[in-house]
């Protein structure tokens, strides 16, 4: 590690942090301003905060259920994508299946689709094809978990591939020689070694799912609505309730912040997208 005067680092990073934090600070400022002050001259420093928006949002039973839905959908989706992505990467890394590199590239094309136009076929599939009798996948949490796989599963595979590739094959082979089953090798030897990469994949897929708006807005109605769709309810022809929107936004940040904080230390170790291994 290079040495330098620590003061420079601190000053530099304080400035950068100020720029990084300002929009988040401003979000908070908006959330504690009464609506009547929004279009008056802005003050940089917050004075006399108004907590009415927080009371309103906290007391709203619908928003609470949106929060639960968001938590279930993004956690379910992140776990599913991370596990399936890990299996897929193990397969791509350890086996000589024909066309596996093409499959690898094809998975990521699923993330490239412009979402707007795919809403109609997804709506039709969820309501009419993936249906049993009266029940169908539209407006269900499991439906949303599966739909979110279209952009998160490819991402998981792409993030995990270098990690799994980086685990020496000799480890597997040694375990097989000792008579371990394939399942045991995958879950008890390779899986733990990939933990940092898995942590990063988990958190990033979680964040992508947590923040998704368009698909949730179209494919949920009553039972599986998420917090981001709750936000859009406050953009209306009678005016946008910026204060409430900002307050909900602050609420959406908290769980994300907790999840992010928990795995922060794994992140750097795990983000090895094709990095050269030493």
């Amino acid at each position: 590690m290079k040495k330098q005067n620590p003061i420079i680092g601190i000053i530099f990073w304080t400035l950068v942090s100020f720029l990084t934090l300002f929009p988040i600070y401003w979000l908070f400022v908006i959330s504690v301003k009464p609506a009547v002050q929004l279009f008056s001259t802005p003050d940089l420093i917050l004075s006399d905060p108004y907590w009415g928006n927080y009371a309103k949002v906290w007391g709203d039973r619908l928003l609470r259920s949106y929060m639960v839905n968001s938590l279930i959908i993004s956690s379910g989706n992140a776990i599913l994508c991370t596990i399936l992505g890990f299996f897929a990467c193990y397969a791509l890394s350890r086996f000589n299946m024909s066309g596996k590199e093409s499959i690898f590239f094809w998975t990521i094309t699923n993330r490239m689709a412009p979402p707007a136009v795919f809403l109609l076929p997804l709506f039709l599939l969820l309501t009419q094809v993936y249906a049993v009798g009266e029940w169908n996948l539209l407006d269900t949490r499991i439906g949303m978990i599966l739909v979110y796989c279209t952009f998160n599963l490819p991402f998981a595979i792409w993030t995990l591939r270098p990690t799994v590739d980086g685990i020496p094959k000799e480890l597997d082979e040694a375990a097989y020689v000792d008579g371990a089953s394939a399942w045991k090798v995958i879950t008890e030897i390779v899986f733990p070694l990939c933990r940092p990469g898995l942590a990063v994949t988990l958190i990033l897929t979680w964040v992508f799912a947590w923040n998704e708006y368009l698909l949730a807005a179209t494919l949920t109605n009553f039972n599986a609505r998420t917090l981001t769709t709750g936000l859009s309810e406050y953009v209306t022809t009678t005016g946008t309730e910026w204060g409430i929107m900002a307050t909900i936004s602050v609420f959406t940040l908290i769980p994300a912040l907790i999840v992010f904080g928990l795995v922060q230390k794994h992140i750097v170790a795990g983000l090895t997208f094709g990095a050269v291994k030493g």
Partner: protein, 477 residues
């Protein structure tokens, strides 16, 4: 008192407890018997009138009848998309959909909606004694077909009015300065010239006195359809250009060459005038949708302006959101010569009469139960409280209720104007291709706003684009 968005859940709890004790409780119970356990589902924009349905009327109805009503509230663009997908695919998710006045013709053209008049005639047992189509104001006419059958129960109605600041207009110093400068008394404008004169005066007044004050609002967003609407709904008609300048009777012609008026001299004059007002409006105007125009006026940054009735309510009376409470006057929009006469004669209109209704999709699986709820929200009895909670009036006798009259005072006579002058305003033209032509012409419209195209060539291009889109859609032969 503040009314709009007083729909915080706590305030609502009270209304729910004080459930309706109307005379005909027995009817509702009996009529609802076959539908016990049914859940009705509706989709609407999350505006105050809709929230009132979700939070007050639906729970009341459930208590009375045992029929549960879930109302999904969402944003303006999402609402249309969801309703259309459901009805187009025949999924039957919704039993009630919000029909904005301007999309009814698209829905009717596709037979998306149930004829409520016919449904009640066929099922006399469903007909509530307190429900009568004759109770509605003329706004209900927009939801009828040629035979007078009703396809949506009106739930909100507004007119886009000319708001002005009574405190500024009544200020002796300002009045004197205005008189000295123009030789006229400072009163709300009736012509475009007067309006422009007042606007210029106040913008200058704001500059001279270092105030955040401008002479007019302008809903002139350069990337959002709000600006398109302001021009076609509120500006062009006052210059005598109606129905977007498209002549439905003449093979949907838009350009002057083919018999339309979209690029007529009047249309160009209207655009030039509006742009000149936009230039002296507050700096946020080119980024303003209806939201920001309301906020601009509510923040006291404009002396006068054209504002949607939905917003006129909270601007005039909601202290939590507006700085100009008690200082708002209401007037008719300024007009070009001959427009008032045309409107009186029923050949034109002076501004936009907007709002929406609740309709029953043909794909609903619970039509009868949904019809009961629609009648419930259409009764005279539920109207006054609703009008106070969210300033909208759809039934004639709501105006006479003391609560509504009191509110009329607060709103600077807005309800009087809606009642007496509502007939001069009109909803969107009866086109089944509303959003399609709007979107086809909007990019050109924005180019005019940012000055990439001149007014004249811009409107020429818009007329051409409109005709091309209409041909493409198969309406123009």
């Amino acid at each position: 008192m503040n009314f709009a968005l007083k729909l915080g859940t706590s305030a609502l709890a009270i209304s729910v407890v004080a459930t309706s004790a109307y005379a005909d409780d027995a009817f509702w119970r009996k009529a609802a018997e076959p539908y016990q356990g049914v859940t009705l589902r509706g989709v609407t924009e999350s505006s105050p009138p809709s929230l009132y349905i979700r939070e007050v009327l639906a729970p009341q109805f459930e208590e009375l009848t045992g029929i549960r009503v879930d109302v999904e509230t969402t944003s303006w663009d999402q609402m249309f998309d969801k309703a259309i997908k459901d009805m187009e695919a025949g999924t039957g998710i919704y039993d009630m959909v919000y029909i904005e006045q301007d999309i009814i013709y698209s829905y009717l053209a596709r037979d998306f909606l149930v004829d409520t008049t016919q449904l009640l005639a066929d099922n006399p047992a469903l007909k509530a004694p307190t429900y009568d189509e004759a109770n509605f104001t003329t706004f209900a006419d927009y939801f009828e077909d040629a035979e007078g059958h009703l396809y949506g129960i009106p739930m909100e109605a507004f007119i886009k009015v000319y708001l002005y600041r009574t405190d500024l207009f009544g200020d002796a110093e300002i009045q004197a300065a205005f008189k000295a400068e123009t030789g006229r008394d400072l009163v709300p404008a009736t012509t475009h010239e007067e309006y422009a004169e007042i606007a210029r005066f106040f913008t200058k007044w704001g500059e001279d006195h270092d105030l955040d004050l401008w002479g007019t609002t302008a809903q002139a967003h350069t990337g959002h359809v709000a600006s398109w609407y302001e021009y076609y709904e509120s500006i062009a008609p006052t210059f005598g250009v109606y129905n977007w300048g498209i002549d439905a009777a003449n093979n949907y012609a838009a350009s002057v060459a083919n018999g339309g008026t979209m690029n007529s001299d009047e249309a160009k004059e209207a655009m030039t005038w509006w742009l000149s007002m936009r230039d002296i409006a507050p700096p946020e105007s080119p980024a303003s949708t209806w939201t920001e125009v309301g906020t601009t006026f509510g923040a006291g940054r404009a002396a006068q302006g054209l504002v949607y009735g939905e917003n006129a309510g909270w601007i005039a009376a909601d202290k939590e959101k507006s700085l100009v409470v008690g200082n708002v006057g209401v007037a008719l929009p300024p007009l070009a010569e001959g427009v008032m006469e045309a409107a009186e004669a029923g050949e034109g209109y002076i501004g936009y009469y907007d709002g929406g209704a609740f309709g029953l999709p043909s794909t609903s699986k619970q039509k009868e139960a949904a019809m009961l709820f629609l009648q419930y929200i259409g009764q005279n009895e539920v109207q006054p409280d609703w009008a106070v909670a969210a300033p909208r009036v759809t039934n004639k006798n709501t105006y006479d209720d003391p609560k509504v009259q009191a509110m009329n005072e607060e709103l600077g006579g807005y309800y009087d104007m809606l009642k007496d002058k509502g007939y001069l305003f009109a909803g969107a033209p009866a086109y089944p291709f509303h959003a399609q032509v709007r979107e086809a012409t909007a990019p050109t419209f924005y180019k005019i706003l940012i000055g990439d195209l001149g007014v004249s060539e811009g409107l020429d291009e818009m007329a051409a684009k409109a005709e091309a889109e209409l041909t493409n859609l198969g309406y123009r032969k």
